[in-house]
Assembly symmetry: D3
Homo-oligomer: 132 residues x 6
Amino acid sequence: MTEEERYQLGVETMNAVGDGSAQRVIESLGDIAPDMARQIVSWGFGEVYSRPALVPRDRQLLTLGMLTALGGCEPQLEVHIGTALNVGLTPAEIVEALLQAAAYCGFPKALNATFVAKKVFGERGLLPVTGA
Amino acid sequence: MTEEERYQLGVETMNAVGDGSAQRVIESLGDIAPDMARQIVSWGFGEVYSRPALVPRDRQLLTLGMLTALGGCEPQLEVHIGTALNVGLTPAEIVEALLQAAAYCGFPKALNATFVAKKVFGERGLLPVTGA
Amino acid sequence: MTEEERYQLGVETMNAVGDGSAQRVIESLGDIAPDMARQIVSWGFGEVYSRPALVPRDRQLLTLGMLTALGGCEPQLEVHIGTALNVGLTPAEIVEALLQAAAYCGFPKALNATFVAKKVFGERGLLPVTGA
Amino acid sequence: MTEEERYQLGVETMNAVGDGSAQRVIESLGDIAPDMARQIVSWGFGEVYSRPALVPRDRQLLTLGMLTALGGCEPQLEVHIGTALNVGLTPAEIVEALLQAAAYCGFPKALNATFVAKKVFGERGLLPVTGA
Amino acid sequence: MTEEERYQLGVETMNAVGDGSAQRVIESLGDIAPDMARQIVSWGFGEVYSRPALVPRDRQLLTLGMLTALGGCEPQLEVHIGTALNVGLTPAEIVEALLQAAAYCGFPKALNATFVAKKVFGERGLLPVTGA
Amino acid sequence: MTEEERYQLGVETMNAVGDGSAQRVIESLGDIAPDMARQIVSWGFGEVYSRPALVPRDRQLLTLGMLTALGGCEPQLEVHIGTALNVGLTPAEIVEALLQAAAYCGFPKALNATFVAKKVFGERGLLPVTGA
């Protein structure tokens, strides 16, 4: 792949799973860190996320776990909980993942992530969550 | 204990040390993660916090240390600094704990926790802290 | 569920996905923290892991992400990478998950987890990993 | 050094690299944790930062790395990105440091720090960053 | 206090709660970072730990929480679990603190700390822990 | 740049600052995660580290701060403290950086990093450190 092809694959991958919120993050980097923006697209999406070895639903479960565990990544959780819904994780599955996070990361981090999920679900009219 | 008894013990334990703020967190989970709410009450308070091996003042010192160290847990610190006051830790002791946190977790995390304490103390008319 | 039923469900759940390594951790707690051992079984496995809202393969992906992000949890990663294999994640999928972890948690934590995976895969005769 | 001399050296060191924002943090501790304020000045600046073994530009690069990696330290990053500019790091160098942080800490933490930098640079009329 | 008085107070404070293991850490810094060694004694023990606002038992509970939450601090946990015993925390109280840590930091970090406690208790002939 | 050129630039960059230890890490990934090895070289070194906006000495100070703050990254610290020496940071500067890390990350993480430095310095005959 050339550099341009990697970037194009990144854009396509990002658009296939996103709803515009990752794109807005990328755009907001334009006047400060355009090379970081380009790396997120070309490398993060074009070289890593696009690989077929894990489907997007798997990747979003994994990312949900990582962002909850890292802590302090609420803005990224907001984007990725939206993406999780886009690629087929149900609200009840996301909430279940966060209950499991309580056992591995403790309740405080699990709660922080749950309140981000509540915001995202609320904006999409997905509250109350049933079956959770 | 039956499941109902565990839940009742959790509610009683939570009410005995709390001032309603933990309860409001629990309630706000109602439309998204009711099972997480139930686990916090039944397990966190009913099975763990209620154990007599450590008194509430000990538990709150411990939790103050953990939440400061984890980072990014300001909402939980706000609840737990309130609880710390409820169970007998003085403002000066809480501030002292956060000075010690500077040595073990660094000044940035200690400062984040101190500004949460300032908010809680201010709301309770406990500023300025004397003897700190 | 009674307390005994929760414990039994926990044991069954742990045995269904495990290969004895989680069990050995539980046993090694016997002379120091038997109640923590019981809580891991009754609560962690009996009340959380056993819930049908996520299948074990999903839970292990999530846990792989969390343990890699937390850092310093190599002993738990060793158990959980084994469990991941038991519930159907392939070596190539696990390695792929860790490449994605590099993008979200940085290369140092991803490398630490990868070397734990190398140990587990080696013990099971799964090296070299093909298709990764 | 006497205690008073340490404090004076701390004040001078802080003033030499700062623009008043660290001073405002110190002042805001006055009614809750004056001893923490004093330790930051006397010890943090007077005994540690003032040592000649590393120049301020080196110290700010190091601190930029630490605060980004810790996570949840956005208020401290805001102060220290300002200080970084004061001691001679250029906006392009700060942005470059945060791109490297993406490789070691992952993109989420790097993005959090980048958006703090965007705020600080914007307030100083340093956007767009050229050469980044 | 003069610098010499701070150092002396630090040595006395360290000796009063310690059993030689903190001292050995300090000594092992002698050929690489003697100033860090001096700061731990003069500042950490002489200026922070020696303050009467919290008794040593309180400080060790707090530190146990912080080190467990930080993760990757097993060598420091080993020293501080020893100190905790020295200042009056019982093995059962320490184990109880770590069960509470499971709720706030997750089981993996709680387990890491518990296995350090098992080592320290074993060396002191305190196993099995009764009443835990 | 083509993919091959990126990889070559990565190898050259890695060789220019390294002493073979990063290379050995890369090689040890060969039978488990060759694509992660390739990404570290092509992306980490070829696209990020090779950028001229920060000189290697700056990058190593930054990385020293990040790895110390992350915690649990002792294997990476060992490689990077060696690299820090290679690119011109003196033992006294590295030790000074770790003293500053005590103020921002707490003494436990600073100590962990200092003992890694002691190992690396010892292997290179650089102990005792003078002027630290």
